[in-house]
């Protein structure tokens, strides 16, 4: 298992997958006691990381604008009025 310096860089999928594999391994009793405690701490961190991604991420809506040199820029965009009518 490669040691990562910054778990913050993990995507939700990566963190979620690693969390799953740790839990499965613990459930199957694959770790020794000390290893399990270390892994469970990591699992907790991964869980918190996942949760943070989900709950702290602000839903941003942006639209792309092209600068004069053709570079795209993302600028905030107001969500259109919420009409639930489907087309």
């Amino acid at each position: 298992m490669a040691k990562r310096d910054t778990d913050k860089d993990l995507t939700f999928e990566q963190a979620r997958a690693e969390l799953e594999s740790i839990i499965t391994a613990i459930e199957q009793g694959k770790f020794g006691l000390e290893e399990m405690i270390a892994q469970s701490e990591r699992a907790k961190r991964l869980h918190d990381h996942c949760k943070r991604i989900l709950t702290e991420a602000e839903a941003r809506i942006q639209r792309l604008q092209l600068a004069d040199d053709g570079t795209p820029l993302a600028v905030p965009m107001e969500p259109p009025p919420d009409e639930s009518a489907e087309e």
Binding site: T11, F12, E13, R16, L19, E20, I22, I23, I26, E27, G29, F31, L33, M36, I37, S40, A43, K44, H47, C50, K51, I53, L54, T55, A57, E58, A59, R60, I61, Q62, R63, L64, T71, P72, A74, M77, P79, P80, D82, E83, S84, E86, E87
Partner: protein, 468 residues
């Protein structure tokens, strides 16, 4: 002009070449057709003379106002028809031309038959479809997985259409933590396809500097086939195919299938459905995460419980409670064995010693000097014993003699003799005779009287008669 060229070349053939058989000619024509006609032809025409053979094959003629061609559709292709071809129906037939030798006819062999709808557009669609399919752009194997938890969703659509409204609404309702990046484009009319293709390429190229885009939604709301046409253009197909970011296509309504839909990694029936496929429902993800936490806790608790039970089990073990007991018992056993060994040895030793002694004694007994010695000793002892016996006897005799004399004196049977009684004895042995049965005729007897003895011979010993 073509006809004139032909007329010029064909008459030359018999003069230059050997005569051909009919079959050879048909084969030649077949070769010319195969070499000069495309392998797949989309043919527009009207059906006439249609007959469905009992074998399942369909025979028909395709015609327009100036000509006609015989056509056949084999059973295997005819079986897949979604509609029923009838005389007078305008169709687009896809297939190839070949020569039917037995009749000397060239025929059109139909692989696919479609009713002719919009004509040119449909044909264009078919042609592009055939080409891209052959190139492998629709290959399911090259479709990428859509990430389950996108952080940023790129959307390529019109900023004013119903599609963007539905997409935004759907994503915010389901998965409010995802960022949405709209690349506004024209979705219909002149240049729309190029704009869509450029937008897909641009979002791919600038993905990193825009914070990373996990998935693209390309689409628009419903409309006529002409309205949706941009999504059937090759540039769009190529751009979707080239995209590194997985693409979900959501164009028009459920019934509309575009080239873009077929090339995309995932086809959604509508833009709303595309948004649903692009992201999970946050609450479900949170539930799942909570489930993970629960499982984690449970797994740890199980693990710890198990460890505790294990430890308790070990604590209950005897060797754990009294680790020295085992040692002591072993020691005791060792001691016992040692003493048994010592006892056994000494007993054995004693027996050997005993037997050795016996042997020694027996051996000594067999030694001649020792034997002599013992014989001598025994002899000496016997001698001593004898001497003692004799001495004792003599003493005894002396004493007996004295008492006998006295007793003789006392009883003095001779006094009885003096009164006239006598004692008769056998001369031989001097045994006193007490009855006639003790003598036989001729025996010499001595009779003792008080005055002396006399000898006589027995004449007639008679049995004493007590009462005669």
């Amino acid at each position: 002009m073509f006809d004139r060229d032909r007329r010029q070349t064909i008459p030359q053939a018999p003069s230059n070449l050997r005569p051909l058989t009919v079959s050879q000619l048909n084969a030649l024509i077949r070769q010319v057709l195969a070499d000069n006609l495309p392998g797949t032809i989309h043919l527009v025409g009207e059906i006439s003379n249609l007959s469905r053979h009992s074998s399942g094959h369909v025979y028909l003629t395709l015609k327009d106002d100036q000509g006609e061609i015989k056509a056949v559709m084999w059973k295997s292709n005819a079986a897949g028809l979604k509609f029923k071809p009838t005389d007078g129906l305008e169709v687009v037939a896809t297939g190839y031309v070949d020569v039917y030798g037995p009749r000397g006819q060239y025929q059109f062999y139909i692989n696919r038959l479609e009713p002719r709808g919009v004509g040119a557009l449909e044909l264009a669609f078919r042609q592009l479809h055939t080409r891209l399919e052959r190139e492998g752009l629709f290959d399911p194997a090259r479709k990428r997985k859509i990430p389950r938890f996108p952080r940023t969703i790129g959307v390529v659509t019109s900023p004013t259409g119903a599609a963007i409204r539905d997409i935004l609404h759907t994503i915010r309702r389901r998965y409010c933590c995802a960022s949405i990046l709209l690349h506004p484009v024209k979705v219909q009319g002149e240049g729309a396809a190029e704009e869509i293709a450029a937008a897909i390429a641009r979002l791919n190229r600038f993905s990193d500097s825009l914070g990373g885009i996990d998935v693209l939604i390309v689409g628009r709301g419903g409309g006529s086939l002409e309205d949706l046409w941009a999504f059937n253009e090759e540039v769009v197909a190529r751009a979707v195919h080239a995209s590194r970011i997985p693409v979900i296509s959501g164009v028009g309504h459920e019934v509309d299938v575009t080239i873009c839909d077929l090339v995309a990694d995932l086809r959604a029936p509508t833009p709303t459905a595309a948004a649903e496929l692009a992201c999970p429902v946050l609450d479900e993800v949170l539930d799942d995460l909570a489930g993970c936490e629960l499982r984690l806790r449970r797994a740890i608790r199980n693990h710890l419980d198990h460890a505790h039970r294990d430890l308790a089990g070990i604590e209950r073990l005897e060797w754990f409670r009294d680790p020295c007991g085992h040692l002591r018992r072993a020691e005791q056993q060792l001691d016992e064995m040692l003493s048994r060994l010592a006892y056994g040895c000494s007993r054995r030793l004693a027996r050997y010693r005993e037997r050795l002694h016996e042997i020694h004694v027996r051996l000594a007994a067999r030694q001649p000097t020792a034997r002599l010695q013992s014989e001598k000793m025994a002899l000496r002892q016997d001698l001593r014993h004898l001497v003692r016996m004799v001495k004792h006897r003599l003493e005894l005799d002396a004493r007996g003699l004295e008492s006998f004399h006295a007793r003789i004196e006392a009883s003095s049977y001779r006094q009885t003799l003096a009164r006239g009684f006598s004692i008769t004895r056998l001369k031989r042995g001097r045994r006193i005779i007490t009855g006639p049965d003790q003598v036989s005729p001729g025996d010499l007897v001595i009779t003792e009287t008080a005055a002396g003895e006399f000898e006589s011979r027995v004449e007639d010993p008679r049995q004493p008669r007590l009462f005669d």
